[in-house]
């Protein structure tokens, strides 16, 4: 045991001295980096988290860019969760990937405020994007760091044949919504489908929308930014409204996985599913015409209309050794031509191009989504994109507890607030 004892004392002796030097080694980020004036050689590396149709679309756009002769881009695809976990490692690396797929919102701002993202304000100079998209793409000092390429909608999806058989009608107001739920239930269909055992964030879609409808988009954004608390009377009002439809939720939700919940939905065992347009990927292609969605019902006409419109796009690393080519590529991605290529290569019609000048025929579902979003008074992204992944996990805990009614709502909310405060303190 002598060897181990010796090593132990050695270790503790070095601790004080070495930990300081280690933070020097590990403490990266925060120090501003000036991008080189001249680009280095070699292809631009694009790190992507997309899969399936989105990836194919991205590959097509990359090939189109490469064939134009301006420079070469190499696409690297990793799993979405891997990308999320490794992103800090990518950005703080001494030789980072140059361009990344990402989304707008609070997470983007956090990265930009650490000085890790390339300032691309000159790409934005003549960009025709709306003010909302511009605000979404900026860091806290107003410099653009992100190029949006598409956004999608969230809606309450339903199967037309199931609703017809139950005699339920598509609602626009809250009261009509309750009537539809009752009709579905009377017909032996579980009205609201959801599966949270491996996808607890699905419940956040319901919270977001109820909060938007009851309190408006500004309150929702303030709440997620920490300026309001989860045990405030406004949030309690949200859950009072939720209590009205809670009996209609699938009671086995906590033990149901996401694929199974979707299968229950497609087989008509459940009546509706609040989800983003990505739900379409999970629907059987032959029956696609039988599915449609409606806008989340309006509860109070006097409250400003808020909608969720998660926006995806691209950003570049501040440490790239090819800033000019990166900006060229990002400018290309923002252009109507590139977004047309992406939309058509994707083929699913579930992502709306962000550039308003894109000349392409939107699929009927997409045009409907676009119309709904254009009429909104305020747009939000989604719980985790508007706050952080850490806050999302507090929401997962709280909302799952609410769904199974394991505790009284006021207790759930005060615990949620305590967890949220812990998360903010750790940031």
């Amino acid at each position: 045991m002598t060897f181990r004892k010796r090593r132990f004392t050695l270790g503790t002796g070095l601790l004080a001295a070495v930990s300081l030097s280690l933070t020097g080694c590990l403490g990266t980020g925060g120090s501003p980096v000036t991008p080189p004036a001249e680009d280095a050689d070699g292809p631009l590396s694009l790190q992507s988290r997309l899969a399936d149709g989105d990836e194919a679309a991205l590959q097509t756009v990359v090939d189109t860019f490469n064939s134009q002769g301006g420079g070469q881009v190499e696409l690297n695809t990793v799993n979405n969760e891997t990308f999320r976990a490794q992103l800090p490692s990518y950005l703080t690396s001494s030789n980072p990937p140059d361009v990344y797929t990402y989304y707008g919102g609070a997470n983007l701002r956090d990265l930009a405020d650490e000085g890790l993202l390339l300032d691309i304000s000159d790409v934005w100079k003549d960009a025709p994007f709306s003010d909302g998209l511009r605000a979404l793409s900026q860091d806290s000092s107003g410099n653009e760091v992100f190029v949006p390429t598409s956004y999608y909608w969230l809606g309450v999806y339903y199967k037309k044949s199931v609703w017809e058989a139950s005699g339920a009608e598509v609602p626009t107001t809250w009261d009509e919504f309750l009537v539809a739920n009752k009709a579905l239930e009377a017909n032996g269909v579980v009205p609201i489908g959801i599966g949270v055992s491996d996808a607890p964030w699905l419940a956040s879609a319901w919270f977001d929308y109820l909060n938007l409808r009851v309190n408006g988009p500004q309150f929702h954004i303030d709440l997620l930014a920490g300026e309001d608390s989860f045990d405030s009377p406004e949030v309690e009002a949200v859950f009072d409204k939720w209590d009205e439809i809670q009996p209609y939720f699938d009671t086995s939700a906590s033990g149901l996985s996401f694929p199974q919940a979707v299968t229950d939905f497609t087989q008509g065992r459940t009546g509706m599913f609040l989800a983003g347009s990505w739900l379409q990927f999970n629907l059987p292609a032959e029956e696609l015409d039988d599915y449609d969605y409606f806008q989340f019902p309006i509860i109070d006409d006097s409250v400003p209309l808020g909608e969720e419109a998660p926006t995806d796009g691209f950003m570049a690393s501040a440490r790239t050794d090819q800033p000019n080519l990166a900006k060229e590529f990002l400018a290309y991605l923002a252009s109507p031509e590139a977004q047309k290529v992406m939309y058509e290569a994707n083929g699913s019609g579930t992502l709306i191009p962000a550039n308003p000048n894109t000349e392409t025929d939107l699929a009927p579902a997409a045009s409907k989504g676009q119309a709904i979003l254009e009429k909104a008074d305020g747009l939000t992204q989604f719980f985790n994109r508007d706050s952080s992944d850490a806050l999302q996990s507090t929401a997962d805990q709280a909302l799952t507890q609410y769904l199974v009614k394991s505790k009284a709502t006021p207790l759930i909310l005060s615990e949620w607030q305590a967890e949220a405060e812990k998360v903010r303190a750790a940031e």
Binding site: N76, N79, E81, Y90, W278, N282
Partner: protein, 300 residues
């Protein structure tokens, strides 16, 4: 006929001098029957989820979405998933990468470990038990503790996103455990063999290669099969140390097929079956080498 008697079938007839009498033959038949029926029950339970994976790999995506993942297939079965997984999903490249990583790691780590185990078990080195425990302690370290240092160190040395790095790290990570296992096996080899050889003038290396190593064949076969499987299917090290997707080994490549909101489960299942084949072949080859203990009888 008790169950315990089935576990160790008698080599010679327990009753009567005539080995072919009816009781003995009936016992042997019942013996075989019970062995096979219990083995089949066990194998069925073990194989059932695998059968579902294989079934999923023959279904079309529409069928999976229509009827659910664990259900009976509705529409017809297809065989296109395997071709798609091989070419479009890049399983061919991923398999090559897995071999490029796994084979050197298995050879290097087992080689180095057998050297260390030999030295520690057959020779009287001071602190040998502490050394052994220290090496094993290396395996008790949670790998997550070292992920970020690995990235930083390899970037600093300029070998990030390279196969060499993955091979080096995986070799180092396996050493402690393999040394420990081989130590256990080598310890049991009688010293008379070694003494006889050294009297004949053989140095340690000759003793190692000609006497000790052949006697450890069951252990080396077992470890080789386990090490191959372990490294071939590794996920964490490859996604941490590699960044370019055409360098990903099989598990990382399969994980990349999963989308954020949906996944082509039939394709992923086919890719999984393809990825499993090399390990199954390795296991089948090595499990025949588990017969090795007979050599110990050479002493008598």
């Amino acid at each position: 006929m008790t169950t315990t008697q089935i576990l160790n079938p008698p080599l010679s007839a327990p009753s009567g001098s005539n080995p072919r009498n009816r009781r003995w033959r009936m016992r042997r038949h019942a013996n075989t029957l019970i062995f096979h029926s219990s083995s089949i029950v066990i194998s069925a339970f073990w194989f059932f989820p695998i059968a579902l994976v294989i079934l999923t790999s023959f279904r079309s995506l529409g069928d999976i979405f229509q009827n659910g993942v664990g259900s009976i297939p509705g529409s017809g079965l297809v065989i296109t998933n395997y071709a798609d997984a091989w070419t479009e999903a890049g399983m061919f490249q991923a398999m090559m990468n897995s071999f490029i990583i796994t084979i050197p790691v298995v050879l290097l780590s087992l080689g180095l470990s057998s050297f260390a185990a030999f030295a520690l078990s057959r020779y009287r080195i001071r602190f040998r038990r502490t050394l052994l425990l220290a090496m094993l302690a290396g395996n008790l370290l949670p790998v997550q503790l070292m992920l970020i240092p690995y990235v930083r160190i390899s970037e600093g040395l300029g070998i990030f996103d390279r196969f060499v790095t993955v091979i080096a790290v995986q070799t180092a990570l396996g050493l402690g455990f393999y040394t420990f296992v081989l130590y256990g096996f080598m310890r049991a080899i009688p010293f008379e063999l070694q003494d006889a050889a050294s009297i004949d003038g053989a140095g340690p290396l000759r003793i190692f290669f000609q006497i000790v190593l052949p006697l450890c064949r069951p252990a080396l076969a077992a470890l080789g099969a386990l090490a191959f499987t372990w490294i071939f299917n590794d996920l964490l090290m490859s996604i941490t140390l590699l960044r370019t997707d055409d360098k990903f080994p099989v598990t990382a490549a399969i994980v990349s097929l999963q989308g954020e909101f949906s996944a082509q489960w039939n394709l992923i299942a086919a890719a999984t079956v393809i990825a499993a084949i090399p390990c199954v072949i390795v296991f089948l080859i090595f499990q025949r080498s588990f017969i090795g203990g007979l050599a110990l009888g050479a002493v008598k």
